[in-house]
Amino acid sequence: MGVMTLAGPPPALAPAAAPVLAVRDLVTTFETPNGTIRPVDGVSLAVAPGRTLGIVGESGCGKSMLSLSLMGLVPPPGRVAGGSVRLEGRELVGLPARALRAVRGNRVAMIFQEPMTSLNPVHTVGGQIVEAIRAHRRVPARRLRAEAVEALRQVRIPAPERRFDEYPHQLSGGMRQRVMIAMALACRPALLIADEPTTALDVTIQAQILDLLRDLQAETGMAIVLITHDLGVVAQVADEVAVMYAGRIVEHAPVGAIFDDPQHPYTIGLLGSMPRMEEDVARLVAIGGTVPPPFRLPPGCRFAPRCPFGDAACRERDPALAAVADGHAAACRKAPVEAHP
């Protein structure tokens, strides 16, 4: 098989429509007393309108720092140190703070895991949505309430006129997440970044929110970047999946291929770690060890110390993300593992 090194997103994944978001070789660094760390280290990806990219990884893999980097929200002393983030063709890296703020919320919006920390407890739900609308759109003052009620109705909140005057603490966790989504969509963004949007929710409520995101995407045609640790959630809503490990994308494929034909040993291990609902497995396949801290990354392949297939060469040379099949790339010298005993 011809192995091709990729500088950007895997070409076979290049979507037919121009991507809403195109990220190339993104690097985010932090200066720490232990030296410079790179929580995001050379990430490339793209999302087309109306599509959902799932970014999966465990804690410490850099997925949340990646989402903050996309939004230009990396907290100091961190900074985006290299690469490119293009939103609808416009370069965001290096944009002045003011220009960036205009993009944020207008063309790209973000929702987080815990809506309570993102909602202001002393303002009504309606007031906060009105504020979001006013910040991004020219709507006559007399129309603001109606627009906000409509936004609540769009996210399927029952009795939106009544909810408008309630405070966040009066809402359940699922309702709060709906309000967050309503605020995020108030500006009709082209891209929604959802960072673990259902992790704090119960499973029946999670199903409702995932359903809602799918419906809203079909209605608005927005692209979604969904960041999650849960392969089940990814399987339910993503079109494409990027698996992250220690700051890098180690595998990138259409969602079907990730589950039917996983190539990277980390992906294989993650799938084996998940208990299954339809059968009793005597033992789960656990991945040994833990994710290395960013200031103590091993040389060579970063997964090699935990990888059952890793050999001396893996521990020396860093594998590039290379195409293994149509639209499917993996950063592993041993992929597919049955061909490299």
Binding site: E58, S59, M175, V203, A235, M274, R276, M277, P336, E338
Partner: protein, 369 residues
């Protein structure tokens, strides 16, 4: 109105732990005079039992009362009603020496291993503390026991001198488990022991708990919201909703033929790691009602897809399905609702994943050169 005591399917032998019609009501006080304005019925008439050496999982969503049930069983909070037995002895109101004895027999592992470990104590001190409190052994024997405990949970002897902050989440949970094992209990209450951990670490801890159970003959009361994890660890399962057990069954029956609409909805809502089986529609609308003012009749009727007039007026009792099946359901229509069969038959993994997992395991078993 409270319901009549509902029999948990009758255990064959003396259960290790038995809760009979146990309730926990928290008074709600309002106004200047802090008058009692009502009560949160966190747990309302729960009966369940755990046999020696088995795992009973209690599942449900937040606010269903599963953690309060765990606390009641541990005697960390007093019950408002009902009785708790350990090894045949009534321990509902045990105090003094009897309670100390109970504490040796029944230990707990919490969800957040960091919050439950004293950051100023070394691992050796953390593990020796229960022994010290209960006056077990001398200093030498305790050191020996700490070494044994570390080995049991696959930690190295040198870890004894380290402090909690030096460990990863998974390792901290191993320390929490080692501490629970220190007094050689017969029952461990595991309150969401893997919920805060990454999936690959969850698998390590779940495997460890199962190994320990086999090796030491432990019984587990396993509290969880994750139905997939429960399928993997439990022998029997009790599903809770708004403070009550709505269905209890041996694992195979619960996943293969759930008969309560809520159990079915919980199973249907779990996101399956299979893009070929996407959920068509949300299985359950609405939110859980407040336990301060639970709906009359069947508490699930406000969200139930199969509600009928009868459900709004009369609370269903937890009724056994067939004698000896150990399967009981609190639904008026348990016999007639449509079956939910998605998880009845094992579904093989995709062949390439299966083959690579087999290779993965073989390689893990045989360390690479």
């Amino acid at each position: 109105m409270t319901q009549p005591p509902r029999p948990d399917p009758i255990p064959a032998t003396t259960p290790l732990l038995e809760l009979r019609d146990v309730s926990k009501h928290y008074p709600v006080r309002r106004g200047l005079l802090r008058r009692e304005a009502g009560a949160v019925r966190a747990v309302d008439g729960v009966s369940l039992h755990v046999d020696p050496g088995e795992t009973l999982a209690v599942v449900g969503e937040s606010g269903c009362g599963k953690s309060t049930t765990a606390r009641l069983a541990l005697r960390l909070v007093p019950a408002s009603g009902g009785s708790i037995r350990f090894d045949g002895q009534d321990v509902t109101d045990a105090r003094g020496p009897a309670l100390r004895r109970l504490r040796r027999e029944m230990q707990v592992v919490f969800q957040d291993p960091f919050a439950s470990l004293n950051p100023r104590m070394s691992v050796a001190e953390i593990l020796a503390e229960p022994l010290l409190v209960h006056g077990v052994g001398d200093a030498g024997a305790r050191r020996e026991r700490v070494r044994d405990l570390l080995r049991l949970v696959d930690l190295a002897p040198y870890h004894a001198e380290r402090f909690p902050h030096e460990f990863s989440g998974g390792q901290r949970q191993r320390i929490g488990i080692a501490r629970a094992l220190a007094l050689s209990p017969r029952l461990i209450v595991c309150d969401e022991p893997v919920s805060a951990l990454d999936v690959s670490i969850q698998a390590q801890i779940v495997n460890l708990l199962k190994d320990l159970q086999r090796e030491l003959g432990l019984a587990f009361l396993f509290i969880s919201h994750g139905l997939a994890v429960v399928r993997h660890v439990a022998d029997r399962v009790a599903v809770m909703y708004l403070g009550q057990v709505v269905e209890t069954a041996p694992k195979a029956a619960l996943y293969g033929d759930p008969r309560h609409p809520y159990t079915q909805a919980l199973l249907a809502a779990a996101p399956e790691p299979d893009p070929a089986r996407r959920l068509a529609r949300t299985p359950l609308a609405g939110d859980v009602p407040s336990p301060l003012d639970p709906p009359g009749g069947c508490r699930f009727h406000t969200r139930c897809p199969a509600t009928q007039a009868h459900c709004r007026s009369e609370a269903p009792a937890l009724r056994p399905r067939a004698a000896g099946s150990g399967h009981a359901v609190a639904c008026h229509f348990a016999e007639s609702i449509p079956a939910f069969t998605r998880f009845r038959d094992p579904r093989p993994r995709p062949p390439r994943l299966q083959a690579r997992l087999a290779l993965y395991e073989a390689r893990r078993a045989a360390p690479t050169p």
